[in-house]
Symmetry: C2
């Protein structure tokens, strides 16, 4: 039975390196070297210290460490418009990137409340974050966050700051739309309609532009009556089909939809009219939202914004900036087309 270690008073934050040193019978400096595999130490001493550390459950206090380093090894993620379907995969990928480098994430949410945003920012700055990620659900331009200390790396993901020096990462909506429409052309469709969401969304405008440019590429005419802007809902998809088909002779043979909800409404409405998808009319969506693409009959071809990749890239860039690089401007990452039965029976 060994005597209990003398005076084992541990610090308020758990055992400290001082405790380790005392119990191991070495100086604090020695303990530090041993624990950080630094300096020259006898192997024996090293072992003794690490053993003691393990035994008493010592874990270095990051806050104390950060006081020395110029890094806190934390970043903030500030969502200005809650968390949703879109920000989630982005966050997931971000998290992975940072976790791999031992960087912890402070997560904040300021749902369209500038006051709350200010509070969160204050808190984050108090924590001495090394970088900041700003996310939003919509790609609308927003005023830059701030004021921020000069030199703090900031990246806007799935969101745009009204500041030309800001770094913004966005999906290439236009390119994505082009992919989908091109594909519709390639499966032989010539009369391609576009049913989409509210025009005040930048994404709607960009996707429309992609739609038009792809039509041009394909040498197809853009019928103005084949472009319908409405809501982001299934109901709108159904209504639009009614407008496009009921009592019309001039019908489209393909529909590119602004999102998957609309696309689902569209295939439902077509099925109810006995119009074969994709035989008579092919349908493509946008977002590649599994719940929708899978449940639709037939499963939906859809444009994937590769939000994971977006998140990864955001993490990578922020880490670069923290390392001292200067990055700025708007970057758009490519989308991918995922082909399913709604455009191609050969699946």
């Amino acid at each position: 039975m060994s005597a209990p270690p003398p005076n084992e008073r541990t610090g308020r934050h758990g055992p400290t390196i001082r405790d380790v040193a005392r119990i191991a019978g070495v100086s604090i400096g020695t303990a530090s070297k041993a624990l950080n595999s630094n300096g020259r130490l006898r192997q024996e001493t090293r072992d003794k210290v690490t053993t003691v550390a393990r035994e008493i459950g010592y874990r270095p206090n990051d806050m104390a460490q950060s006081l020395h380093r110029t890094r806190s090894m934390t970043v903030g993620v500030l969502s200005t418009d809650s968390f949703g379907r879109f920000t989630l995969p982005i966050f997931q990928a971000l998290e992975e990137q940072f976790a791999d480098r031992g960087i912890a994430i402070f997560m904040c949410n300021a749902t369209d409340d500038p006051e709350r945003e200010r509070q969160h920012l204050d808190q984050l700055l108090g924590k001495r974050i090394d970088g900041l990620v700003v996310t939003a659900r919509r790609a609308d331009k927003r005023p830059p966050v701030g004021p921020l200390p000069a030199g703090l790396p900031v990246i806007y993901v799935f969101s745009q700051a009204d500041d030309r020096d800001a770094l913004c990462l966005l999906p290439d909506d236009e390119g994505g739309a082009r992919l989908a429409v091109r594909h519709l052309g390639e499966v032989g469709k010539r009369r391609i309609a576009h049913i989409t969401g509210p025009e005040h969304f930048e994404a709607v405008q960009l996707r429309r532009r992609g739609y038009l440019s792809a039509l041009a590429e394909l040498g197809l005419a853009a019928h103005p009556e084949f472009y319908l802007s409405g809501k982001w809902t299934e109901a709108w998809g159904r209504d639009a089909v009614a407008a496009l088909f009921d009592g019309k002779t001039d019908r489209p043979d393909a529909i590119f939809c602004g999102n998957d909800l609309i696309a689902r409404g569209v295939v439902d409405a077509l099925r109810e009219r006995g119009i074969a998808v994709p035989g008579e009319v092919a349908v493509a969506g946008f977002d590649n939202w599994d719940v929708m693409t899978a449940a639709a009959r037939p499963p939906l071809t859809s444009v994937d914004m590769n939000l994971s990749a977006l998140g990864h890239e955001a993490g990578r860039l922020l880490i670069e900036m923290i390392g001292g690089e200067t990055v700025r401007g708007i970057r758009r990452l490519p989308c991918t087309l995922v082909v399913r039965e709604s455009t191609s029976t050969s699946t």
Copy 2:
């Protein structure tokens, strides 16, 4: 033109209280008192200090502060099964609770990877979090996280730890199911079926129990052939309707579904058979997932698990525990029924 302040070397983490003191021409102690509205100080001095602090953009370093306090004013949220539809509202509410008290959240994600979980935990403990929230997508029992320093408050939300001393917060699935079935009885239905998900989910078992007990309450018989367990998908909902209705004379007049996806499949299948909802068959879902309840035709009556409330309560409890209270055991929070047209034409 005033002379530049002498030797304005600021610390590596930005201006320090020492800078403030020097520029304001007072001692550090005085500056501290002024900035924290502590002790007795001349109003003049107080003002001078705060002015300087504002001017040079001084912001106290939380990490340095935490070294003194016994609290770090941070908590960790560890999601053991990614983030999804269910954990999101919970997190949102948690965030609100903590933000109000100036507590920052470290967000981690260890998707079913024990190794990663261990890493994250290590990191969080290094950051000296004051408390820990563990979330999961499924309510399956999981081994308790750990090892953790004694006395660290932990709460499992939407997840259960295999440890009787753990505090777990869950929705009352059984009660929720009872609400729905009772309601179906109240609108005059007598032959109530239950189409639900895989039986290995505890939620499936609990909801079934609620279904059965409500039937008993209503004095209705439980037809074994009216209980169908399958997948959590729309397709299963449709298939189950086929099984229940096609070529059968012994049909139900109401269906309580294990989730909204199934319910949506059910109403779609019924509509395709020309069976009126809710006239001939009423349908209720579970989850109250807006995307589904709204898009279904007719809109779905559904059980809401009140995940926001769950998150709020989790935050409240964890804060209590941080304050020294001891809370343990499994707590189930009530669900709410949201009535829509799939069960009641009177909406």
